[in-house]
Symmetry: C2
Subunit: 363 residues, 2 copies
Amino acid sequence: MTASIAVPAGPSGPGTAYARAHLRTREQPVRPIPGLYWHPVAEPDPAVTAEIDRRTKRWAVHEVDLYPPEWEDQFEAFGFGRYVGLTSPNAAGLDQLEAAARLLVAENAVDDCYCEDHGGSAHGLGARILMAHSALEHPHSVEPYESGWVQHLATQAPCRAYRSAMDFFDRLAPDQVHDRELHDLARLHLGYLAEAAWETEQRVPGIGEYLMVRQYNSFRPCLTIVDVLDGYALPADLHDHPAVQKALALGSLATTLVNDLYSYTKELRSLRPHVNLITALVHHERLTARDAYLKAVGIHNEAMHRFEAASDTARTRLPDPVTARYLTSVADWIDGNHWWHATNTGRYTLPDFGDHPQGEPSP
Amino acid sequence: MTASIAVPAGPSGPGTAYARAHLRTREQPVRPIPGLYWHPVAEPDPAVTAEIDRRTKRWAVHEVDLYPPEWEDQFEAFGFGRYVGLTSPNAAGLDQLEAAARLLVAENAVDDCYCEDHGGSAHGLGARILMAHSALEHPHSVEPYESGWVQHLATQAPCRAYRSAMDFFDRLAPDQVHDRELHDLARLHLGYLAEAAWETEQRVPGIGEYLMVRQYNSFRPCLTIVDVLDGYALPADLHDHPAVQKALALGSLATTLVNDLYSYTKELRSLRPHVNLITALVHHERLTARDAYLKAVGIHNEAMHRFEAASDTARTRLPDPVTARYLTSVADWIDGNHWWHATNTGRYTLPDFGDHPQGEPSP
């Protein structure tokens, strides 16, 4: 539990009980989506959250010079400290939470600066994305070109962030986990490029294609590393087993669809409207926005049920207790991610179809 | 040695000695590039080569319906059987060679049909590439969309080939090697998309960027699996060690630059001229084509020297004999790939700068 992590400076955390009481008295009411299948989570220790926010902002603003000063407010609004605290309730320590936060910040910067509204575009994206990906690996070629490329990467803020975040993570992670994180970041980058192609082609993908791509452009790079964040490592033969891979794919999909549902109104307002599951359902299944939204909730719930069934199957087929521990860490990440979205009311608002009651946690 | 593999039908192979004699009397003279650093290899048993060609063509034309009949000649000219025989001189059996050939055929089909001259283009490539990548993994979502996507993949010849080639390979490979092959195919696909971005932007990349991208759009998916082709498996903790990763990256770069050098004149003739190392050197370093070609030979040679030094370092740092065996298999692949390019004179011709002597093997 993050509540047990010692914060070296500032008031020590009064723990989960306090946090839960605090949550109930937030000014913004908590608003889970009606009908959504989800599980309640413990609020992280506010002192731990504040310490991770402090560390991450120091790193982002002063160490890798990622943000111009005018973006600082957006950085704070995102709430990276609370996000990683919610998603890693059993983190082994502050360094693990900082590693998760750095990677999350860097992933967001690459997405914002190369793909999205902070100067990104679909045009030429493949070259920018591979430049960023090369910052995660140490590029090897011949001199003077190898050094020249490394120097070029250092001039690019998102690449500096990726490189530094990965170096920090590598201090905590065995080579196997480093390699699987790189693989899942390659998956993420392929997903970005598929979505950019839809924009270039001005095409709304069918639902089957959309759901496939959302297994790539997904939170999977966050899910994959939960073992290292919690202070252990899932061996490669277990991680790479098809039963575990299936659970990871379905869990990544479900947790990413939560983002589609909570960010639906935010994306409707953006300069370059996104394809998401709801707009794709409206387009291809001729549904009203309300019916498409409800159908998307059902698709998410089914993905969650399938994730939980696949996790049960993997636990049965691979009785090593570390598999069960890993799948529990993954489920914790998914539940924390839901709650972060449900309570990040500064960033997300729910669509008002005029009829939704307050959501309740699933049994 | 492939010479020791029993071919179930047809004349049995007279072995390497015969093959070497046969090679010296080819009508087309063997033409290694003058000044290139390379190592001689044994010619594979012609009976084995013929059997792999027979199996692979049966699979490609009759099982996965990959090629329309009018492409059959091109299929034969490529010489997949000889290619995998040259690059895997210690293959464990015919199935391993067939697995390598199927993957090579499928990779070429994806490149030809989605990126290159058989109907491919840079426009919308990200979506086609991720569709193909999803055929390598079993996509997981919810019904009816999951089944719908699988049915859609079955209508696409390159996706059928990828799926079938990977299934065949998986019968021989542990999950760990399946996962690392997927990772290197993700790298390859990111490389395709970076090159497509150059075309979209009508931009010639600098040499540092070009060499970086050539570590992604490279033969690495062929190198990675040499352990399975030779009948063993390199454990994840050795494969993922930075010393082995460095050797793999440099080896992949060197063997890919061989392709640049041998296909230079072929690419000059193509409908959509490619950026390659030589054209990038002409553009950015204001060299004549001849001087750029000679400089590219030097860059290749330096990459080879660095690969060999990195392999030596990895062998020293990781004294487990399986590391040394793996790096030898990788070096064999690189040497065989060079010889295939040097002797595939139907596909490749050398540029005529009017002054090149016959190349000699490096000491």
